[in-house]
Symmetry: C2
Subunit: 444 residues, 2 copies
């Protein structure tokens, strides 16, 4: 189970800093249990690990099997929550360099998440000469980035495959009933999977959004759901004292002290993309109404030779949450070297994991001395069950934390602002008057 240790953080807090948050936590807990807080239409993720559509789940596994059999590459088209979770899971479970390792599952390319023609062209080039399947993920089917990429990729695939063949190669994860993508998929006969109405993008990794690409990568999605279900059960059994709420309360206590940055630090390259997923989850859930803790991440020990200096000794505006992996996949033991020119024989016989652990503790104590509170989060290993636990832990903590902060953790009103401006500048029909206003602003 996920463990949270706060002994390297508590000295920065007074008893009352935590106790005074209890009423807000109780309210948050009520909102979560009774689904009656702000954004309550988007709380489907709470029961998802035990309440998911088993028929669809089986279809996801079957589709993944088919894709693996018929494809050298899967292109996943989606932006934000429509790919960050899947990428995080695949990097964590398989490899942060998944596409370049030796494996018997397809390469996976994430695209449709920017307007960069160079980014898109790379994916098109990478798939040349390969047998390709596509998973396009969009609730509406009109999200500009993803829909554009789908246009390019479809027109490419239509040169290679017949309409009939494409039915076996294009999979749409979208609204259950409506929208441009759903209509198109039905008309063409593509298999569809559902983005539930009550689960927002950043909470969607355990829906078809994440599960299909994760399954194609050869991961055990049953284990993922079991881990999430176990964490759910544990948290609700532990009530207000559960580990997710504890994390939510502590980060709010630091926020109330004036900390404005949380740094998620890990010591495993495989965790890097998890941190990107976490940044979206927390940044988008809490960064509103002029509030919120800015989520940043580092990969240690390399970033100790980068942002490490800042954390040790720069502006004092941060706290750290250190993610610790208990068991490595591989046990490497430092070899003895007769020459010992590098003077490292004092480490011979030690495992890399032991050394990594000491580096972590040493760093933690150093940052503590530098005035940075450190929370420590331990997970077991890079396996599906652990990942399921971690996903649910971070989601539940995020909901509670947002409610304690006093925001709606499930909306993202600010995301519309750039879209509106962009549509106007691109000349989208209906945005004419806004275009003129913007162009005047640009003249300043």
């Amino acid at each position: 189970m996920i463990r949270l240790e706060d002994k390297y953080a508590l000295s920065f807090l007074k008893e009352d800093d935590i106790a005074s948050l209890t009423p807000a936590l109780q309210t948050a807990d009520g909102y979560i249990r009774n689904r009656n807080g702000a954004g309550n239409d988007f709380t489907g993720w709470i029961d998802l690990p035990v309440n998911y559509d088993k028929e669809e789940f089986a279809r996801i596994k079957a589709a993944a099997k088919r894709i693996c059999e018929t494809s050298d590459a899967l292109i996943v088209i989606g932006i934000g929550g429509s790919y960050l979770g899947a990428k995080a899971a695949i990097d964590f479970l398989r490899s942060p360099n998944y596409n370049s390792i030796k494996k018997d599952t397809p390469d996976i390319y994430f695209t449709g998440n920017s307007f960069s023609g160079d980014d898109l062209k790379e994916v098109l080039d990478a798939c040349e000469g390969k047998r390709v399947s596509v998973n396009v993920i969009s609730k509406s089917g009109t999200t500009t980035e993803s829909a554009l990429a789908f246009r390019f990729i479809r027109s490419e695939l239509e040169k290679r495959y017949s309409r009939e063949e494409l039915k076996e190669r294009i999979y749409c994860t979208t609204d259950k009933a409506r929208g441009a993508l759903k209509n198109f998929a039905d008309a063409e006969g593509y298999e569809t999977f559902v983005i539930p109405d009550d689960i927002g993008g950043r909470f969607s990794v355990l829906t078809a959004v994440g599960l299909l690409p994760i399954a194609v990568a050869g991961c055990d999605i049953d284990g993922l759901m079991q881990g999430a279900a176990a964490m759910r059960e544990q948290c609700f059994a532990d009530g207000l004292n559960n580990v997710a709420y504890r994390y939510a309360v502590l980060r709010n206590a630091f926020y109330n002290q004036g900390k404005r940055i949380e740094i998620l630090a890990s010591y495993e390259g495989a965790f890097r993309s998890m941190a990107e997923w976490w940044k979206q989850l927390y940044g988008e859930s809490e960064g509103k109404d002029g509030k919120g803790i800015f989520p940043a991440s580092v990969a240690f020990s390399t970033d100790l030779h980068s942002l490490g200096q800042f954390i040790q000794d720069g502006s004092r505006t941060m706290f750290e949450t250190v993610v610790r992996q208990e068991k490595p996949v591989n046990t490497l033991t430092v070899p003895f070297d007769e020459l010992n020119t590098d003077t490292l024989n004092y480490l011979a016989g030690m495992t890399m994991n032991e050394i990594n652990d000491h580096a972590m503790t040493g760093t933690l104590l150093a940052h503590l001395d530098g005035g940075v509170p450190n929370l420590m989060l331990t997970y077991d290993s890079r396996c599906e069950y652990t990942l399921g636990e971690m996903v649910y832990f971070f989601e539940l903590a995020c909901a509670a934390s947002g409610y304690i902060l006093g925001v709606n953790p499930f909306d993202q009103p600010g995301v519309e602002d750039y879209k509106r401006n962009m549509f106007a500048l691109l000349g989208k029909p209906g945005y004419e008057s806004q275009k003129e206003a913007l162009e005047n602003k640009m003249k300043l």
Copy 2:
């Protein structure tokens, strides 16, 4: 040439916010020109673009050619500044997925930058069955992360190659005369390249540290130096009004207003690793004495569906520097689609780059409305010359900015703190008393 536009930032500043920094800028400029400020022993990067060792430069090119001819993979062993610059350059110039694109240059694996056994094992596995060369980069040769990785990799290579063969496969970038790695290389007959005494790790990308891996990736290192030299000449010709100093002054003006986070935003996947290099450069140079702007980065538009919400509407503690690429490598034109189910025909005939540019401007205006000042930095294209300009621009601006802030931009005293603790916990001879003190602390 790099252009800096401040019209989306100036409305947040009063005339005096900038004018009042002129004396500090004059002082900084004097320190830089006369090499008499704090850390002046580490200002070798200033004249490097015109003053580099031409004989070594030719040897680097020859070594790169040899590595390309004899190797399927190059393993680069180094931490912090010993790999971030090379990785940034290769990702920017070739591809952020360099190892998985089709190419006629070797794969390049960066390792020795963490204690994760899993990270190291991945590189060992990836190189199985491949013809391998190694570039180990360490001033002293005793940096724990890198030296440990070198131990593992050497013991692996010794199984495959004779001592004679290894002379053609191991290249050491290290101190010119002293240290464990230099001694070892000389004893074994490995070719060595120099980490100059007067250039710190984070300023070292245009030395052999960066140049050898960059050249192996097939990039034109002459172009890189020419771009840097051109930027150097331009900046010193423009005096106090140069573009790098302007950036330095503006970011200090925002810092003085209470902004504590700078977000470097780009719209090209190829720029992601450049942002990591930038984070080290600025974070390590400025984050000290309780001061500094925390450097963070985003890749738009995808992160508009992640940290975008926070930037638009969360805690108001940040300003943004938007990096704009003028010319794409590939021009992709949006195809017309008769069905138009995605309703995007209004974009048909437009290039992705035009759309990307509108997305950028739309976002910039939205963030402006959200109260976030935006600086805009335009570079020409993903080519060596441009990259050279950019490297020099950021380095010079960083030195000036640090001096304006009142810190030594060239030291990193905080990096020693974690090392000291780590050595103690690992039982390194000579750290016995500190070990006991730390273990007591851990009991708390």
